[in-house]
């Protein structure tokens, strides 16, 4: 009895498409690990145009299209209703995987409540449990811990962005248009009054920034800070500094991280040209993931770092910034 995976696409934005591809990749890998099974892609919306044409090469075995005026804007109740109709058409047991976009994350709660199975968000790892359901590992406390849940079929999970490899382009899958029943969810819908472009966010304050990029004396002088600022921008990071560079007047005191500066514990801390004196470490060692770039392989910073690159920061920073830009083409909240 091989399960069927249904991925509900979010074709509304580049992030939506990227996370949809990740969900397709995750679905395929999941089924392949347990002896195969069919991956269906659901496209919900109104006036989908050439989206189905493109989507049939995204790696699903089948594309189910629900094009209906009631789906013109994303509302969890109409989308859950539509998706439920599709789940009922598929051979059980069904696993629904949702992209890590805002749409996928909003849909989990409603769809799982509607289907009467288990549901969760931010999946990091997926495993099928023969007859019972879907086993999901997900982060807790901003990644300081994780839990593993067992979701009974029909299981619904939205995936953490970047946690799964996206699916590869495939041969064209069959596309099937599905009609929605005339009777829909009760209650009046919402009316879209206006749509405006995504506002650009400014850089977050140091102590709240999810990512912090800090520079030390290894950067050689204040004239090299634009390299670090580029990296920070690419990561949406706050800027930090060691005390040595603050004392030297290269950077303002507000940027100092450490015993006598700010204490930070971001998801990602990148220490560039910082030796890792204990006074610096106490201000950042509770960060979830620490990356160090330093010319000296015996620098103490490498003892607390998770990843390190031994080398000249001035040479390493530009390609790193480039690679990160490519990896993060547009990001959600």
């Amino acid at each position: 009895m091989s399960p069927t995976a249904l991925v509900v696409a979010d074709p509304r934005s580049p992030v939506g498409i990227r996370t949809t591809l990740e969900a397709l990749g995750a679905a395929r890998a999941l089924l392949d690990r347990s002896g195969g099974g069919k991956v269906a892609l659901a496209l919900l919306g109104h006036g989908l145009g050439d989206v189905p044409e493109a989507a049939k090469r995204w790696g699903a075995d089948q594309v189910l299209v629900l094009d209906d005026p009631r789906l013109a804007i994303f509302r969890s109740e109409t989308y859950a209703w539509g998706a439920e109709g599709l789940v009922k058409r598929l051979a059980p047991p069904v696993v629904v995987l949702l992209p890590g976009s805002t749409m996928g994350r909003e849909l989990v709660g409603r769809l799982s409540a509607r289907l009467g199975g288990g549901g969760t968000s931010e999946a990091l790892e997926l495993e099928l449990e023969e007859t019972r359901g879907l086993r999901v590992r997900r982060p807790l406390f901003g990644g300081k811990a994780s839990e593993t849940l067992s979701l009974p079929f029909p299981a619904v999970a939205s995936l953490r962005p970047n946690a799964f490899a996206p699916s590869e382009a495939s041969a064209a899958a069959p596309v099937e248009a599905v009609e929605l029943p005339k009777a829909g969810p009760a209650g009046p819908g919402a009316e879209l009054l206006e749509r405006s472009p995504v506002p650009v966010s400014d850089t977050p304050p140091l102590t709240q920034a999810p990512v912090v990029v800090s520079g030390g004396r290894g950067l050689r002088g204040p004239e090299n800070w634009p390299l670090l600022e580029d990296l920070a921008r690419a990561l949406g990071a706050g800027l930090g500094a060691s005390r040595a560079v603050v004392d030297a007047g290269w950077r303002p005191a507000a940027e100092q991280v450490g015993q006598t500066g700010a204490s930070v514990s971001p998801q990602l801390y990148v220490a560039v040209g910082i030796s890792g004196a204990i006074q610096h470490l106490v201000g950042m060692s509770s960060s979830r993931c620490i990356v160090a770039i330093n010319t000296d392989p015996s620098a103490p910073i490498f003892k607390v770092a998770d990843y390190g690159v031994v080398g000249d920061a001035l040479v390493l920073l530009p390609p790193l910034t480039e690679a990160i830009r490519r990896a993060r083409a547009g990001a959600g909240p």
């Binding site: 015993q259 006598t260 204990i278 106490v282």
Partner: protein, 383 residues
Amino acid sequence: MPISFDLTPEQRELQGLASKFAREEMAPRAAECDRTGRFPEEVYRKAWELGLMNLNVPVEYGGSGLPLLDQCLITEELASACGGMTTSILANCLALQPINLGGSPEQRERFLKPFCADYRLASFALTEPGGGSDAGALKTRAVREGDSYVLTGQKCFITNAPQASLYTVFATVDPEKKHAGITAFVVPRDTPGVSLGREEDKLGQRASSTATVTFERAKVPRENRLGEEGEGFKLAMATLDSTRTPIGALAVGIARAALDHASRYALQRTSFGVPIAQHQAIATKIGSMVQELEASRLLTWLSAWMVDQGKRATLESSVAKCFASDAAMRICDEAIQIFGGYGYMRDYPVEKLLRDAKLCQIYEGANEIQRLVISREYLRRFS
């Protein structure tokens, strides 16, 4: 009621409020105000807005009328972030307490209400250049002239004096009578003849302000006299009996901060290949510091509890203030030792704690005087 050390949910909430205020408003400014001696008016104003200021003023005058135990819980939290700011916040309690205890209903209405309706500061003016410990020998004169008293003299080391709008002043109507001549007055800052000396430059608690107030034929209406002539000394002592215990709590807060800093540092700093906390000499230091802190806190709770039960607590409040402030000095001293050279640096937080703690041994009755009081109270039981 049996003794219980469980705080009520309400007490935990008050503690939570104070701790949040301490963390978010006081702690971030503590080092800066210590360095510059700035009086962080914005912190005091916010404390007032949150109701953390006139804790002892009864509810009918717009205060929160908290039991002393609750006041101590709040004080410990505040002091763990900054002793100096806590002193300035507590100064209103000290200054308004004589009005609370000795004022007529009309005076309480007139003087206490404005403090709860608006942010205002008041000062308690007892100490004089000629002597603080021997308060009975104070020199400031109050001479009756018709319906008024004319005050002449000088009060020194007066907390919040530069910012206060009201002083409770202790003066004598007849120096011959010693204690029995002392009388309490409420003196508005804008009374002609009241002037301020320069602000003192202090060793610690630098976020609070301290100055001399001079009275040069300052005319105060009779309606501003608290109680009768000659009742002032008793009123001052009764006031200090009820505000001494929070000074113990203030010392506990400072000591707790020192112990917490030292504990974290001892686990983190390594020497000879291990965290220094694993060296027995450091571990036993921490063992002693914990004992002294716990004892200090329990003594302040006991004293506050007795006051709240309406029991006489002269001995207990002196024990609490004296023990907790001496313990705080030892704890801060050891904390610096545990930090080694870093402890001696101004960039690290512990040396400030030592300087702040020192004041707790001096004001509201120097600890020598507390010991005299304690022995007198205790020996009485045998005579």
